[in-house]
């Protein structure tokens, strides 16, 4: 089958099988910023935005994405760079395998929640697992980032 998706503003026509999940199709098309950390929809590394909503691309049928707008971290590179400054300032980037999916979710949280409490931040991001950082540094970075961009 072929699907037409609008990824990071670019129209792409891609080949896929009906059972293919979006992660594999995107990675094969060169969007390797979409990571795969598990086989069970548990880790959040594969997060992309579909029509601006964060979803797990590993559990989303590629055929269902036909005609839809998809954003990876590369599609919001400028904002991501800004957030990366705060993350690296805390040393919380570590191995970085979780980072693209995590950062994308942070950016969408910024749009969705106004002045979130720490508990709300943790709750919104609980689907993004990180085994390296212990999360504390990421939380410090997010708080400082939100403060900076809201001023």
């Amino acid at each position: 089958m072929t699907i037409t998706i609008y990824i990071n503003g670019k129209r792409e026509i891609l080949e896929c099988q009906p059972g293919d999940m979006l992660t594999e199709v995107l990675r094969k098309a060169g969007y390797v910023e979409v990571k795969k950390g598990c086989d069970t929809a548990s880790c959040g590394a594969c997060t992309v935005l579909i029509e601006d909503k964060p979803v797990l691309s590993c559990s989303y049928l590629a055929v269902r994405a036909d005609g839809k707008r998809i954003t990876t971290i590369q599609g919001v590179a400028e904002e991501a760079k800004k957030f990366a400054q705060f993350l690296t300032a805390e040393g919380a980037d570590q191995c970085g395998f979780c980072a693209p999916g995590f950062a994308l979710t942070v950016l969408s949280m910024k749009k969705e929640l106004r002045n979130p409490s720490e508990a709300e931040i943790r709750h919104y991001l609980s689907g993004n697992l990180c085994r390296c950082s212990g999360y504390e540094g990421q939380i410090r970075a997010i708080k400082k980032y939100l403060e900076a961009v809201h001023d």
């Binding site: 089958m1 059972g19 929809a41 909503k53 979710t105």
Partner: protein, 262 residues
């Protein structure tokens, strides 16, 4: 997951035909289907049927089968009619990225033992509507299933209830060890427990003890809580033993009841 053929019907009749006559497999959020290694001969994608809605009617609320968990937990309508129960019940399930995919229909259809949502829906006295227009009590569907292929169109909730949800998990993103939901429907109490690890059941004896008083006494609450663990069966799995489940269910039922009664 392998899907041999894929269809995205534009009408309920067409979807119904593919499921009933062509042995098609309904695709809701696809998150659970994907963890299955079985080959799907014909996948019937329900995403173009307009089943993504939460609507209020005069004496009830309808939730379309393709409504996602994220919509349930962020719905202002549901929050105003049922309090925090939806966001508490589904808020632990992995993360918002999964909850933006998984559907009410896929959950009810699966009758999963571990389900947080099905326990909640049982307690709220939900009804499930199979296309075309076959309505059944959701709790009895969870218990007995459905003969033959089916297509869930929507579920129906009463217009409001005071309800609470309690669960136990080893860690926050894990599956529940046991869960319970209780609701005061205005005329009666409903108590359900799930993840025993088998699927949700109503605690009918406990409900009887609470009877029709909005303000049951502490003794009634304790008796109902104790009864809940006597009237249900429990099993063991990698997360906990039957004994443990049976032991803590009354604690959770009591806490939920106290939360609603105040």
């Amino acid at each position: 997951m392998e899907i041999r053929e894929y269809a995205r019907p534009k009408s309920m009749d067409e979807a119904m035909h593919l499921i009933h006559e062509e042995h098609g497999t309904a695709i809701g959020g696809s998150a659970w289907l994907r963890t299955n290694t079985k080959t799907v001969m014909l996948g019937v994608d329900l995403s173009d049927l307009g089943l993504e809605y939460i609507r209020e009617f005069q004496d009830h609320i309808e939730i379309g089968a393709m409504t996602t968990y994220r919509e349930l937990e962020t719905s202002l309508l549901l929050a105003s009619r049922f309090g925090k129960i939806f966001s508490t019940a589904v808020g632990h399930i992995v993360g918002i990225q999964l909850r933006s995919i998984i559907t009410v229909g896929g959950t009810v259809a699966g009758r999963y033992g571990f389900s947080d949502l099905n326990t909640t829906l049982c307690a709220l006295g939900a009804r499930v509507v199979f296309y075309p227009n076959i309505e059944e009590d959701l709790a009895s569907f969870i218990e007995k299933g459905y003969a033959g292929p089916f297509l869930i169109e929507k579920i129906i909730l009463p217009s409001s209830a005071r309800a609470a949800y309690q669960q136990m998990r080893i860690s926050e993103n894990d599956f529940p060890i046991i869960n319970t939901a209780v609701a005061w429907m205005g005329t009666e109490w409903r108590v359900a427990a799930g993840s025993r690890p088998a699927a949700a059941r109503l605690c009918r004896n406990a409900m009887k003890i609470l009877a029709d008083s909005a303000n049951p006494s502490n003794e009634q609450i304790e008796a109902a809580a104790q009864e809940s663990s006597k009237e249900l069966q429990f099993g063991s799995d990698i997360r906990a033993s039957a004994t443990y489940r049976q032991k803590i269910l009354p604690v959770l039922v009591r806490r939920a009841l106290l939360e609603v009664r105040g």
